[in-house]
């Protein structure tokens, strides 16, 4: 198996009849950095959540690191995610009452594993957070918080890291730092990163871009530049209109 994540004709229909995913089949090779782009409402966040085991698709199959996600109840899905998946969200989702270090080791502790303090320190040092380990998240800048979130996602050594608009709340410099960090996660650690974004500049850090429109795949782009990604994104509407 060389795919970090593979999706086999995913469907997702919400109560009330809204179709968010309309038969998406895609593969994200192991050790690759893929951006998923599309206009608002194209289903990109739903795709990420179904692929990451945060939400159950209405139809279709999800494989992460070679294992099929078959769990149906919440607890089993959580346990499946723990060992295979890490997350980075737009609004960080760090627990405000825990220190940086406690936030980072939380996934390990929840899984009942001992936290290797040296390793955690090492990861924090490498992300430039070595001296902030005992601080509460509220004392950090947005960029620092997002780096803590990346450290937390890495701590269980998952095969895949999913990032949902990781730079959506950051200034340009912090965004660049976080994207470079995600890039290192792929090149230095050999992990697979799947990132949903609406920002062509962010997408340009990825190996390839996957475009979504109206819950369906609408093409892809290898070795994207920001301009090329923006161009394609701008014309997604035309294509969908032409097909219909």
């Amino acid at each position: 198996m060389t795919d970090g994540v593979s999706l086999d004709s995913l469907y997702k229909t919400y109560d009330g009849g809204v179709t968010a995913l309309d038969g998406v089949t895609a593969a994200f090779p192991a050790g690759s950095f893929t951006a998923v782009m599309g206009p608002s409402g194209s289903g990109k966040s739903t795709l990420l959540q179904c692929a990451a085991g945060l939400d159950r698709p209405t139809g279709g199959r999800v494989f992460i690191d070679g294992a099929e996600l078959t769990a149906t109840d919440d607890t089993a899905m959580t346990k499946f995610r723990r060992t295979r998946v890490g997350f980075v969200f737009q609004d960080y989702n760090l627990l405000p009452s825990l220190t940086v270090e406690q936030n980072v080791v939380l996934p390990l502790r929840l899984a009942g594993r001992r936290a290797d303090r040296h390793r955690v320190r090492e990861v924090l040092d490498r992300l430039g957070l070595g001296d902030r380990a005992q601080d509460l998240p509220e004392r950090l800048s947005g960029g620092q918080r997002q780096r803590v979130a990346v450290a937390r996602a890495l701590v269980t050594e998952p095969a895949v890291i999913f990032a949902d608009e990781p730079t959506g709340a950051l200034d340009l410099r912090s965004a660049r730092e976080v994207l470079t960090l995600l890039r290192t996660v792929v090149s230095g650690h050999g992990r697979t990163v799947v990132m949903v974004t609406h920002d062509p500049v962010a997408a340009a850090y990825a190996d390839s871009v996957l475009f979504l429109a109206d819950g369906r795949l609408a093409g892809s782009l290898q070795a994207p530049t920001a301009d090329a990604a923006a161009e394609r994104l701008a014309h997604l509407g035309d294509r969908v209109g032409a097909e219909a």
Partner: protein
């Protein structure tokens, strides 16, 4: 801003349920007791005038304290839950005074509606109280229950005034300086004052009231109430202490235990548990000592009044504090939907989140029950010394066991049910809400 306040009430009535319920119950109880004064106004001494006024002032006085406490705490919690909405209003240009008007407007509107809804309930409760006094022969059966200006005045007046004061205080906190910390020094000073008053009453009971029989109840009962309030104000410190002592035990439960120890402290939930345990235990044991001491002796006519009254008050306060406890816990837990969701996104199962909440509940209950026990001793020990000549009561611990069991049951049910509701549905949706 008053218009915004009314729109808020109509749009999200659920957010005001807790405040409404405590104001409604408080108003109903106050009206019931105050209506005894209405009833008493046309009654002469022989028909039980004094029984009626005693019941009204003692029972009503207790209710007054509890109502003020309950309305204030639920209102403060309800407003703290809405810091997002308040931040939003501020960002679109609402000034501090405007926000203040909105919050106070909501509080007064809820209090008005709650008081109005309480009128029929207060009327019925008042009749029940008069009926009780009929049954025990303290009031002539010819005396009919009345419900008049005193009942309405006390019910509406106290509820409105309490809500107004609580609203202004909460609004000052919310609209003022955003995240300014509460003032622990003021709170601790208040706690010290209440505890000193309680200790003073306890000493008076054991010295001045020594050998005065049932009259010692006046000061003994008060001692326990003041001590309960004083200790309730120290809830954050007590909870920290209990948490520190129990932390090795809680840690045995792994990650949920660690989260329970590190999480935000729910000291607001300790207060109702402590008040309930303190007042209920104190009153029940005090009456127990009295019953044993009085067995076989002739008693003043009002001894039976007081006995009825004590049990009625314990019953009412139990119901009232139970509702306040459930309100506080539900409000405090529902507020943590986002926190729970974040824990789940970090890899916690629903079971682990529930286990964490259960452990927090354990810390809250232990703190409240132990604090309440200490507060109850302010009543029980001096009264035992004054009435029966022995400091440690000759009574079985069963009654305390029952009170503690009720406290545990209420806390557990309220906490776990809300926690379970808060972790329903996907975590990704809950994080955004």
């Amino acid at each position: 801003m008053i218009a915004v306040a009314l729109r808020n009430l109509r749009h999200r009535p659920g957010g005001f349920v807790a405040t409404f319920l405590s104001a409604f119950l408080g108003a109903a109880l106050l009206m019931a007791f105050a209506s005894l004064l209405d009833t008493a106004s046309g009654v002469d001494a022989a028909a039980g005038h004094e029984s009626l006024t005693t019941t009204a002032t003692v029972g009503g006085g207790w209710c007054l304290i509890i109502v003020a406490f309950a309305v204030t705490s639920t209102l403060t919690l309800a407003i703290r839950q809405r810091d997002q909405q308040i931040a939003l209003l501020r960002s679109v240009g609402a000034t501090g005074p405007q926000l203040r008007r909105m919050i106070v407007g909501e509080a007064v509107a809820v209090a008005l509606v709650a008081s109005a809804a309480a009128v029929p309930v207060g009327l019925v409760l008042g009749r029940v109280l008069v009926g009780l006094l009929h049954d025990t022969g303290q009031v002539a059966t010819s005396v009919g229950a009345a419900f008049g200006p005193i009942a309405l005045g006390a019910g509406f007046g106290v509820t409105l005034l309490g809500s107004l004061v609580a609203g202004v205080a909460a609004a000052r906190r919310a609209a003022g300086h955003g995240r300014r910390k509460q003032r622990p020094r003021l709170r601790r000073l208040g706690a010290a004052l209440f505890l000193l008053t309680g200790a003073n009453c306890a000493v008076l009971t054991a010295t001045l009231m020594y050998g005065k029989g049932i009259d010692a109840m006046q000061t003994a009962g008060q001692a326990g109430i003041w001590a309960s309030i004083g200790l309730a104000l120290l809830a954050p410190e007590l909870l920290r202490l209990v948490t520190a002592v129990l932390s090795p035990l809680v840690r045995l439960f792994g990650a949920p235990g660690e989260l329970a120890l590190q999480g935000p402290r729910l000291s607001s939930a300790v207060m109702p548990v402590l008040l309930f345990t303190g007042i209920a235990t104190g009153t029940v044991y005090m009456q127990g000592i009295e019953d044993r001491a009085a067995a076989g002796t002739t008693q003043p006519g009002y001894a039976q009044d007081i006995q009825t009254l004590n049990y009625v008050v314990v019953g009412l306060i139990t119901v009232f504090v139970a509702i306040m406890l459930v309100n506080t816990l539900i409000a405090a837990t529902a507020h943590r939907r986002r926190e729970f969701a974040q824990q789940r996104l970090a890899g916690a199962t629903r079971g682990q989140v529930t286990a964490m909440v259960a452990l927090e509940g354990l810390l809250i209950t232990v703190t409240g029950v132990l604090g309440g026990l200490v507060a109850a001793l302010f009543t029980v020990l001096p009264f035992g010394s004054a009435r029966a000549g022995r400091v440690w009561p000759d009574a079985s611990p069963a009654a305390f066991g029952i009170v503690a069991a009720i406290a545990v049951m209420l806390t557990a049910t309220a906490l776990l049910r809300t926690a379970r509701r808060s972790v329903r549905g996907p975590a990704t949706a809950a994080v955004r809400s």
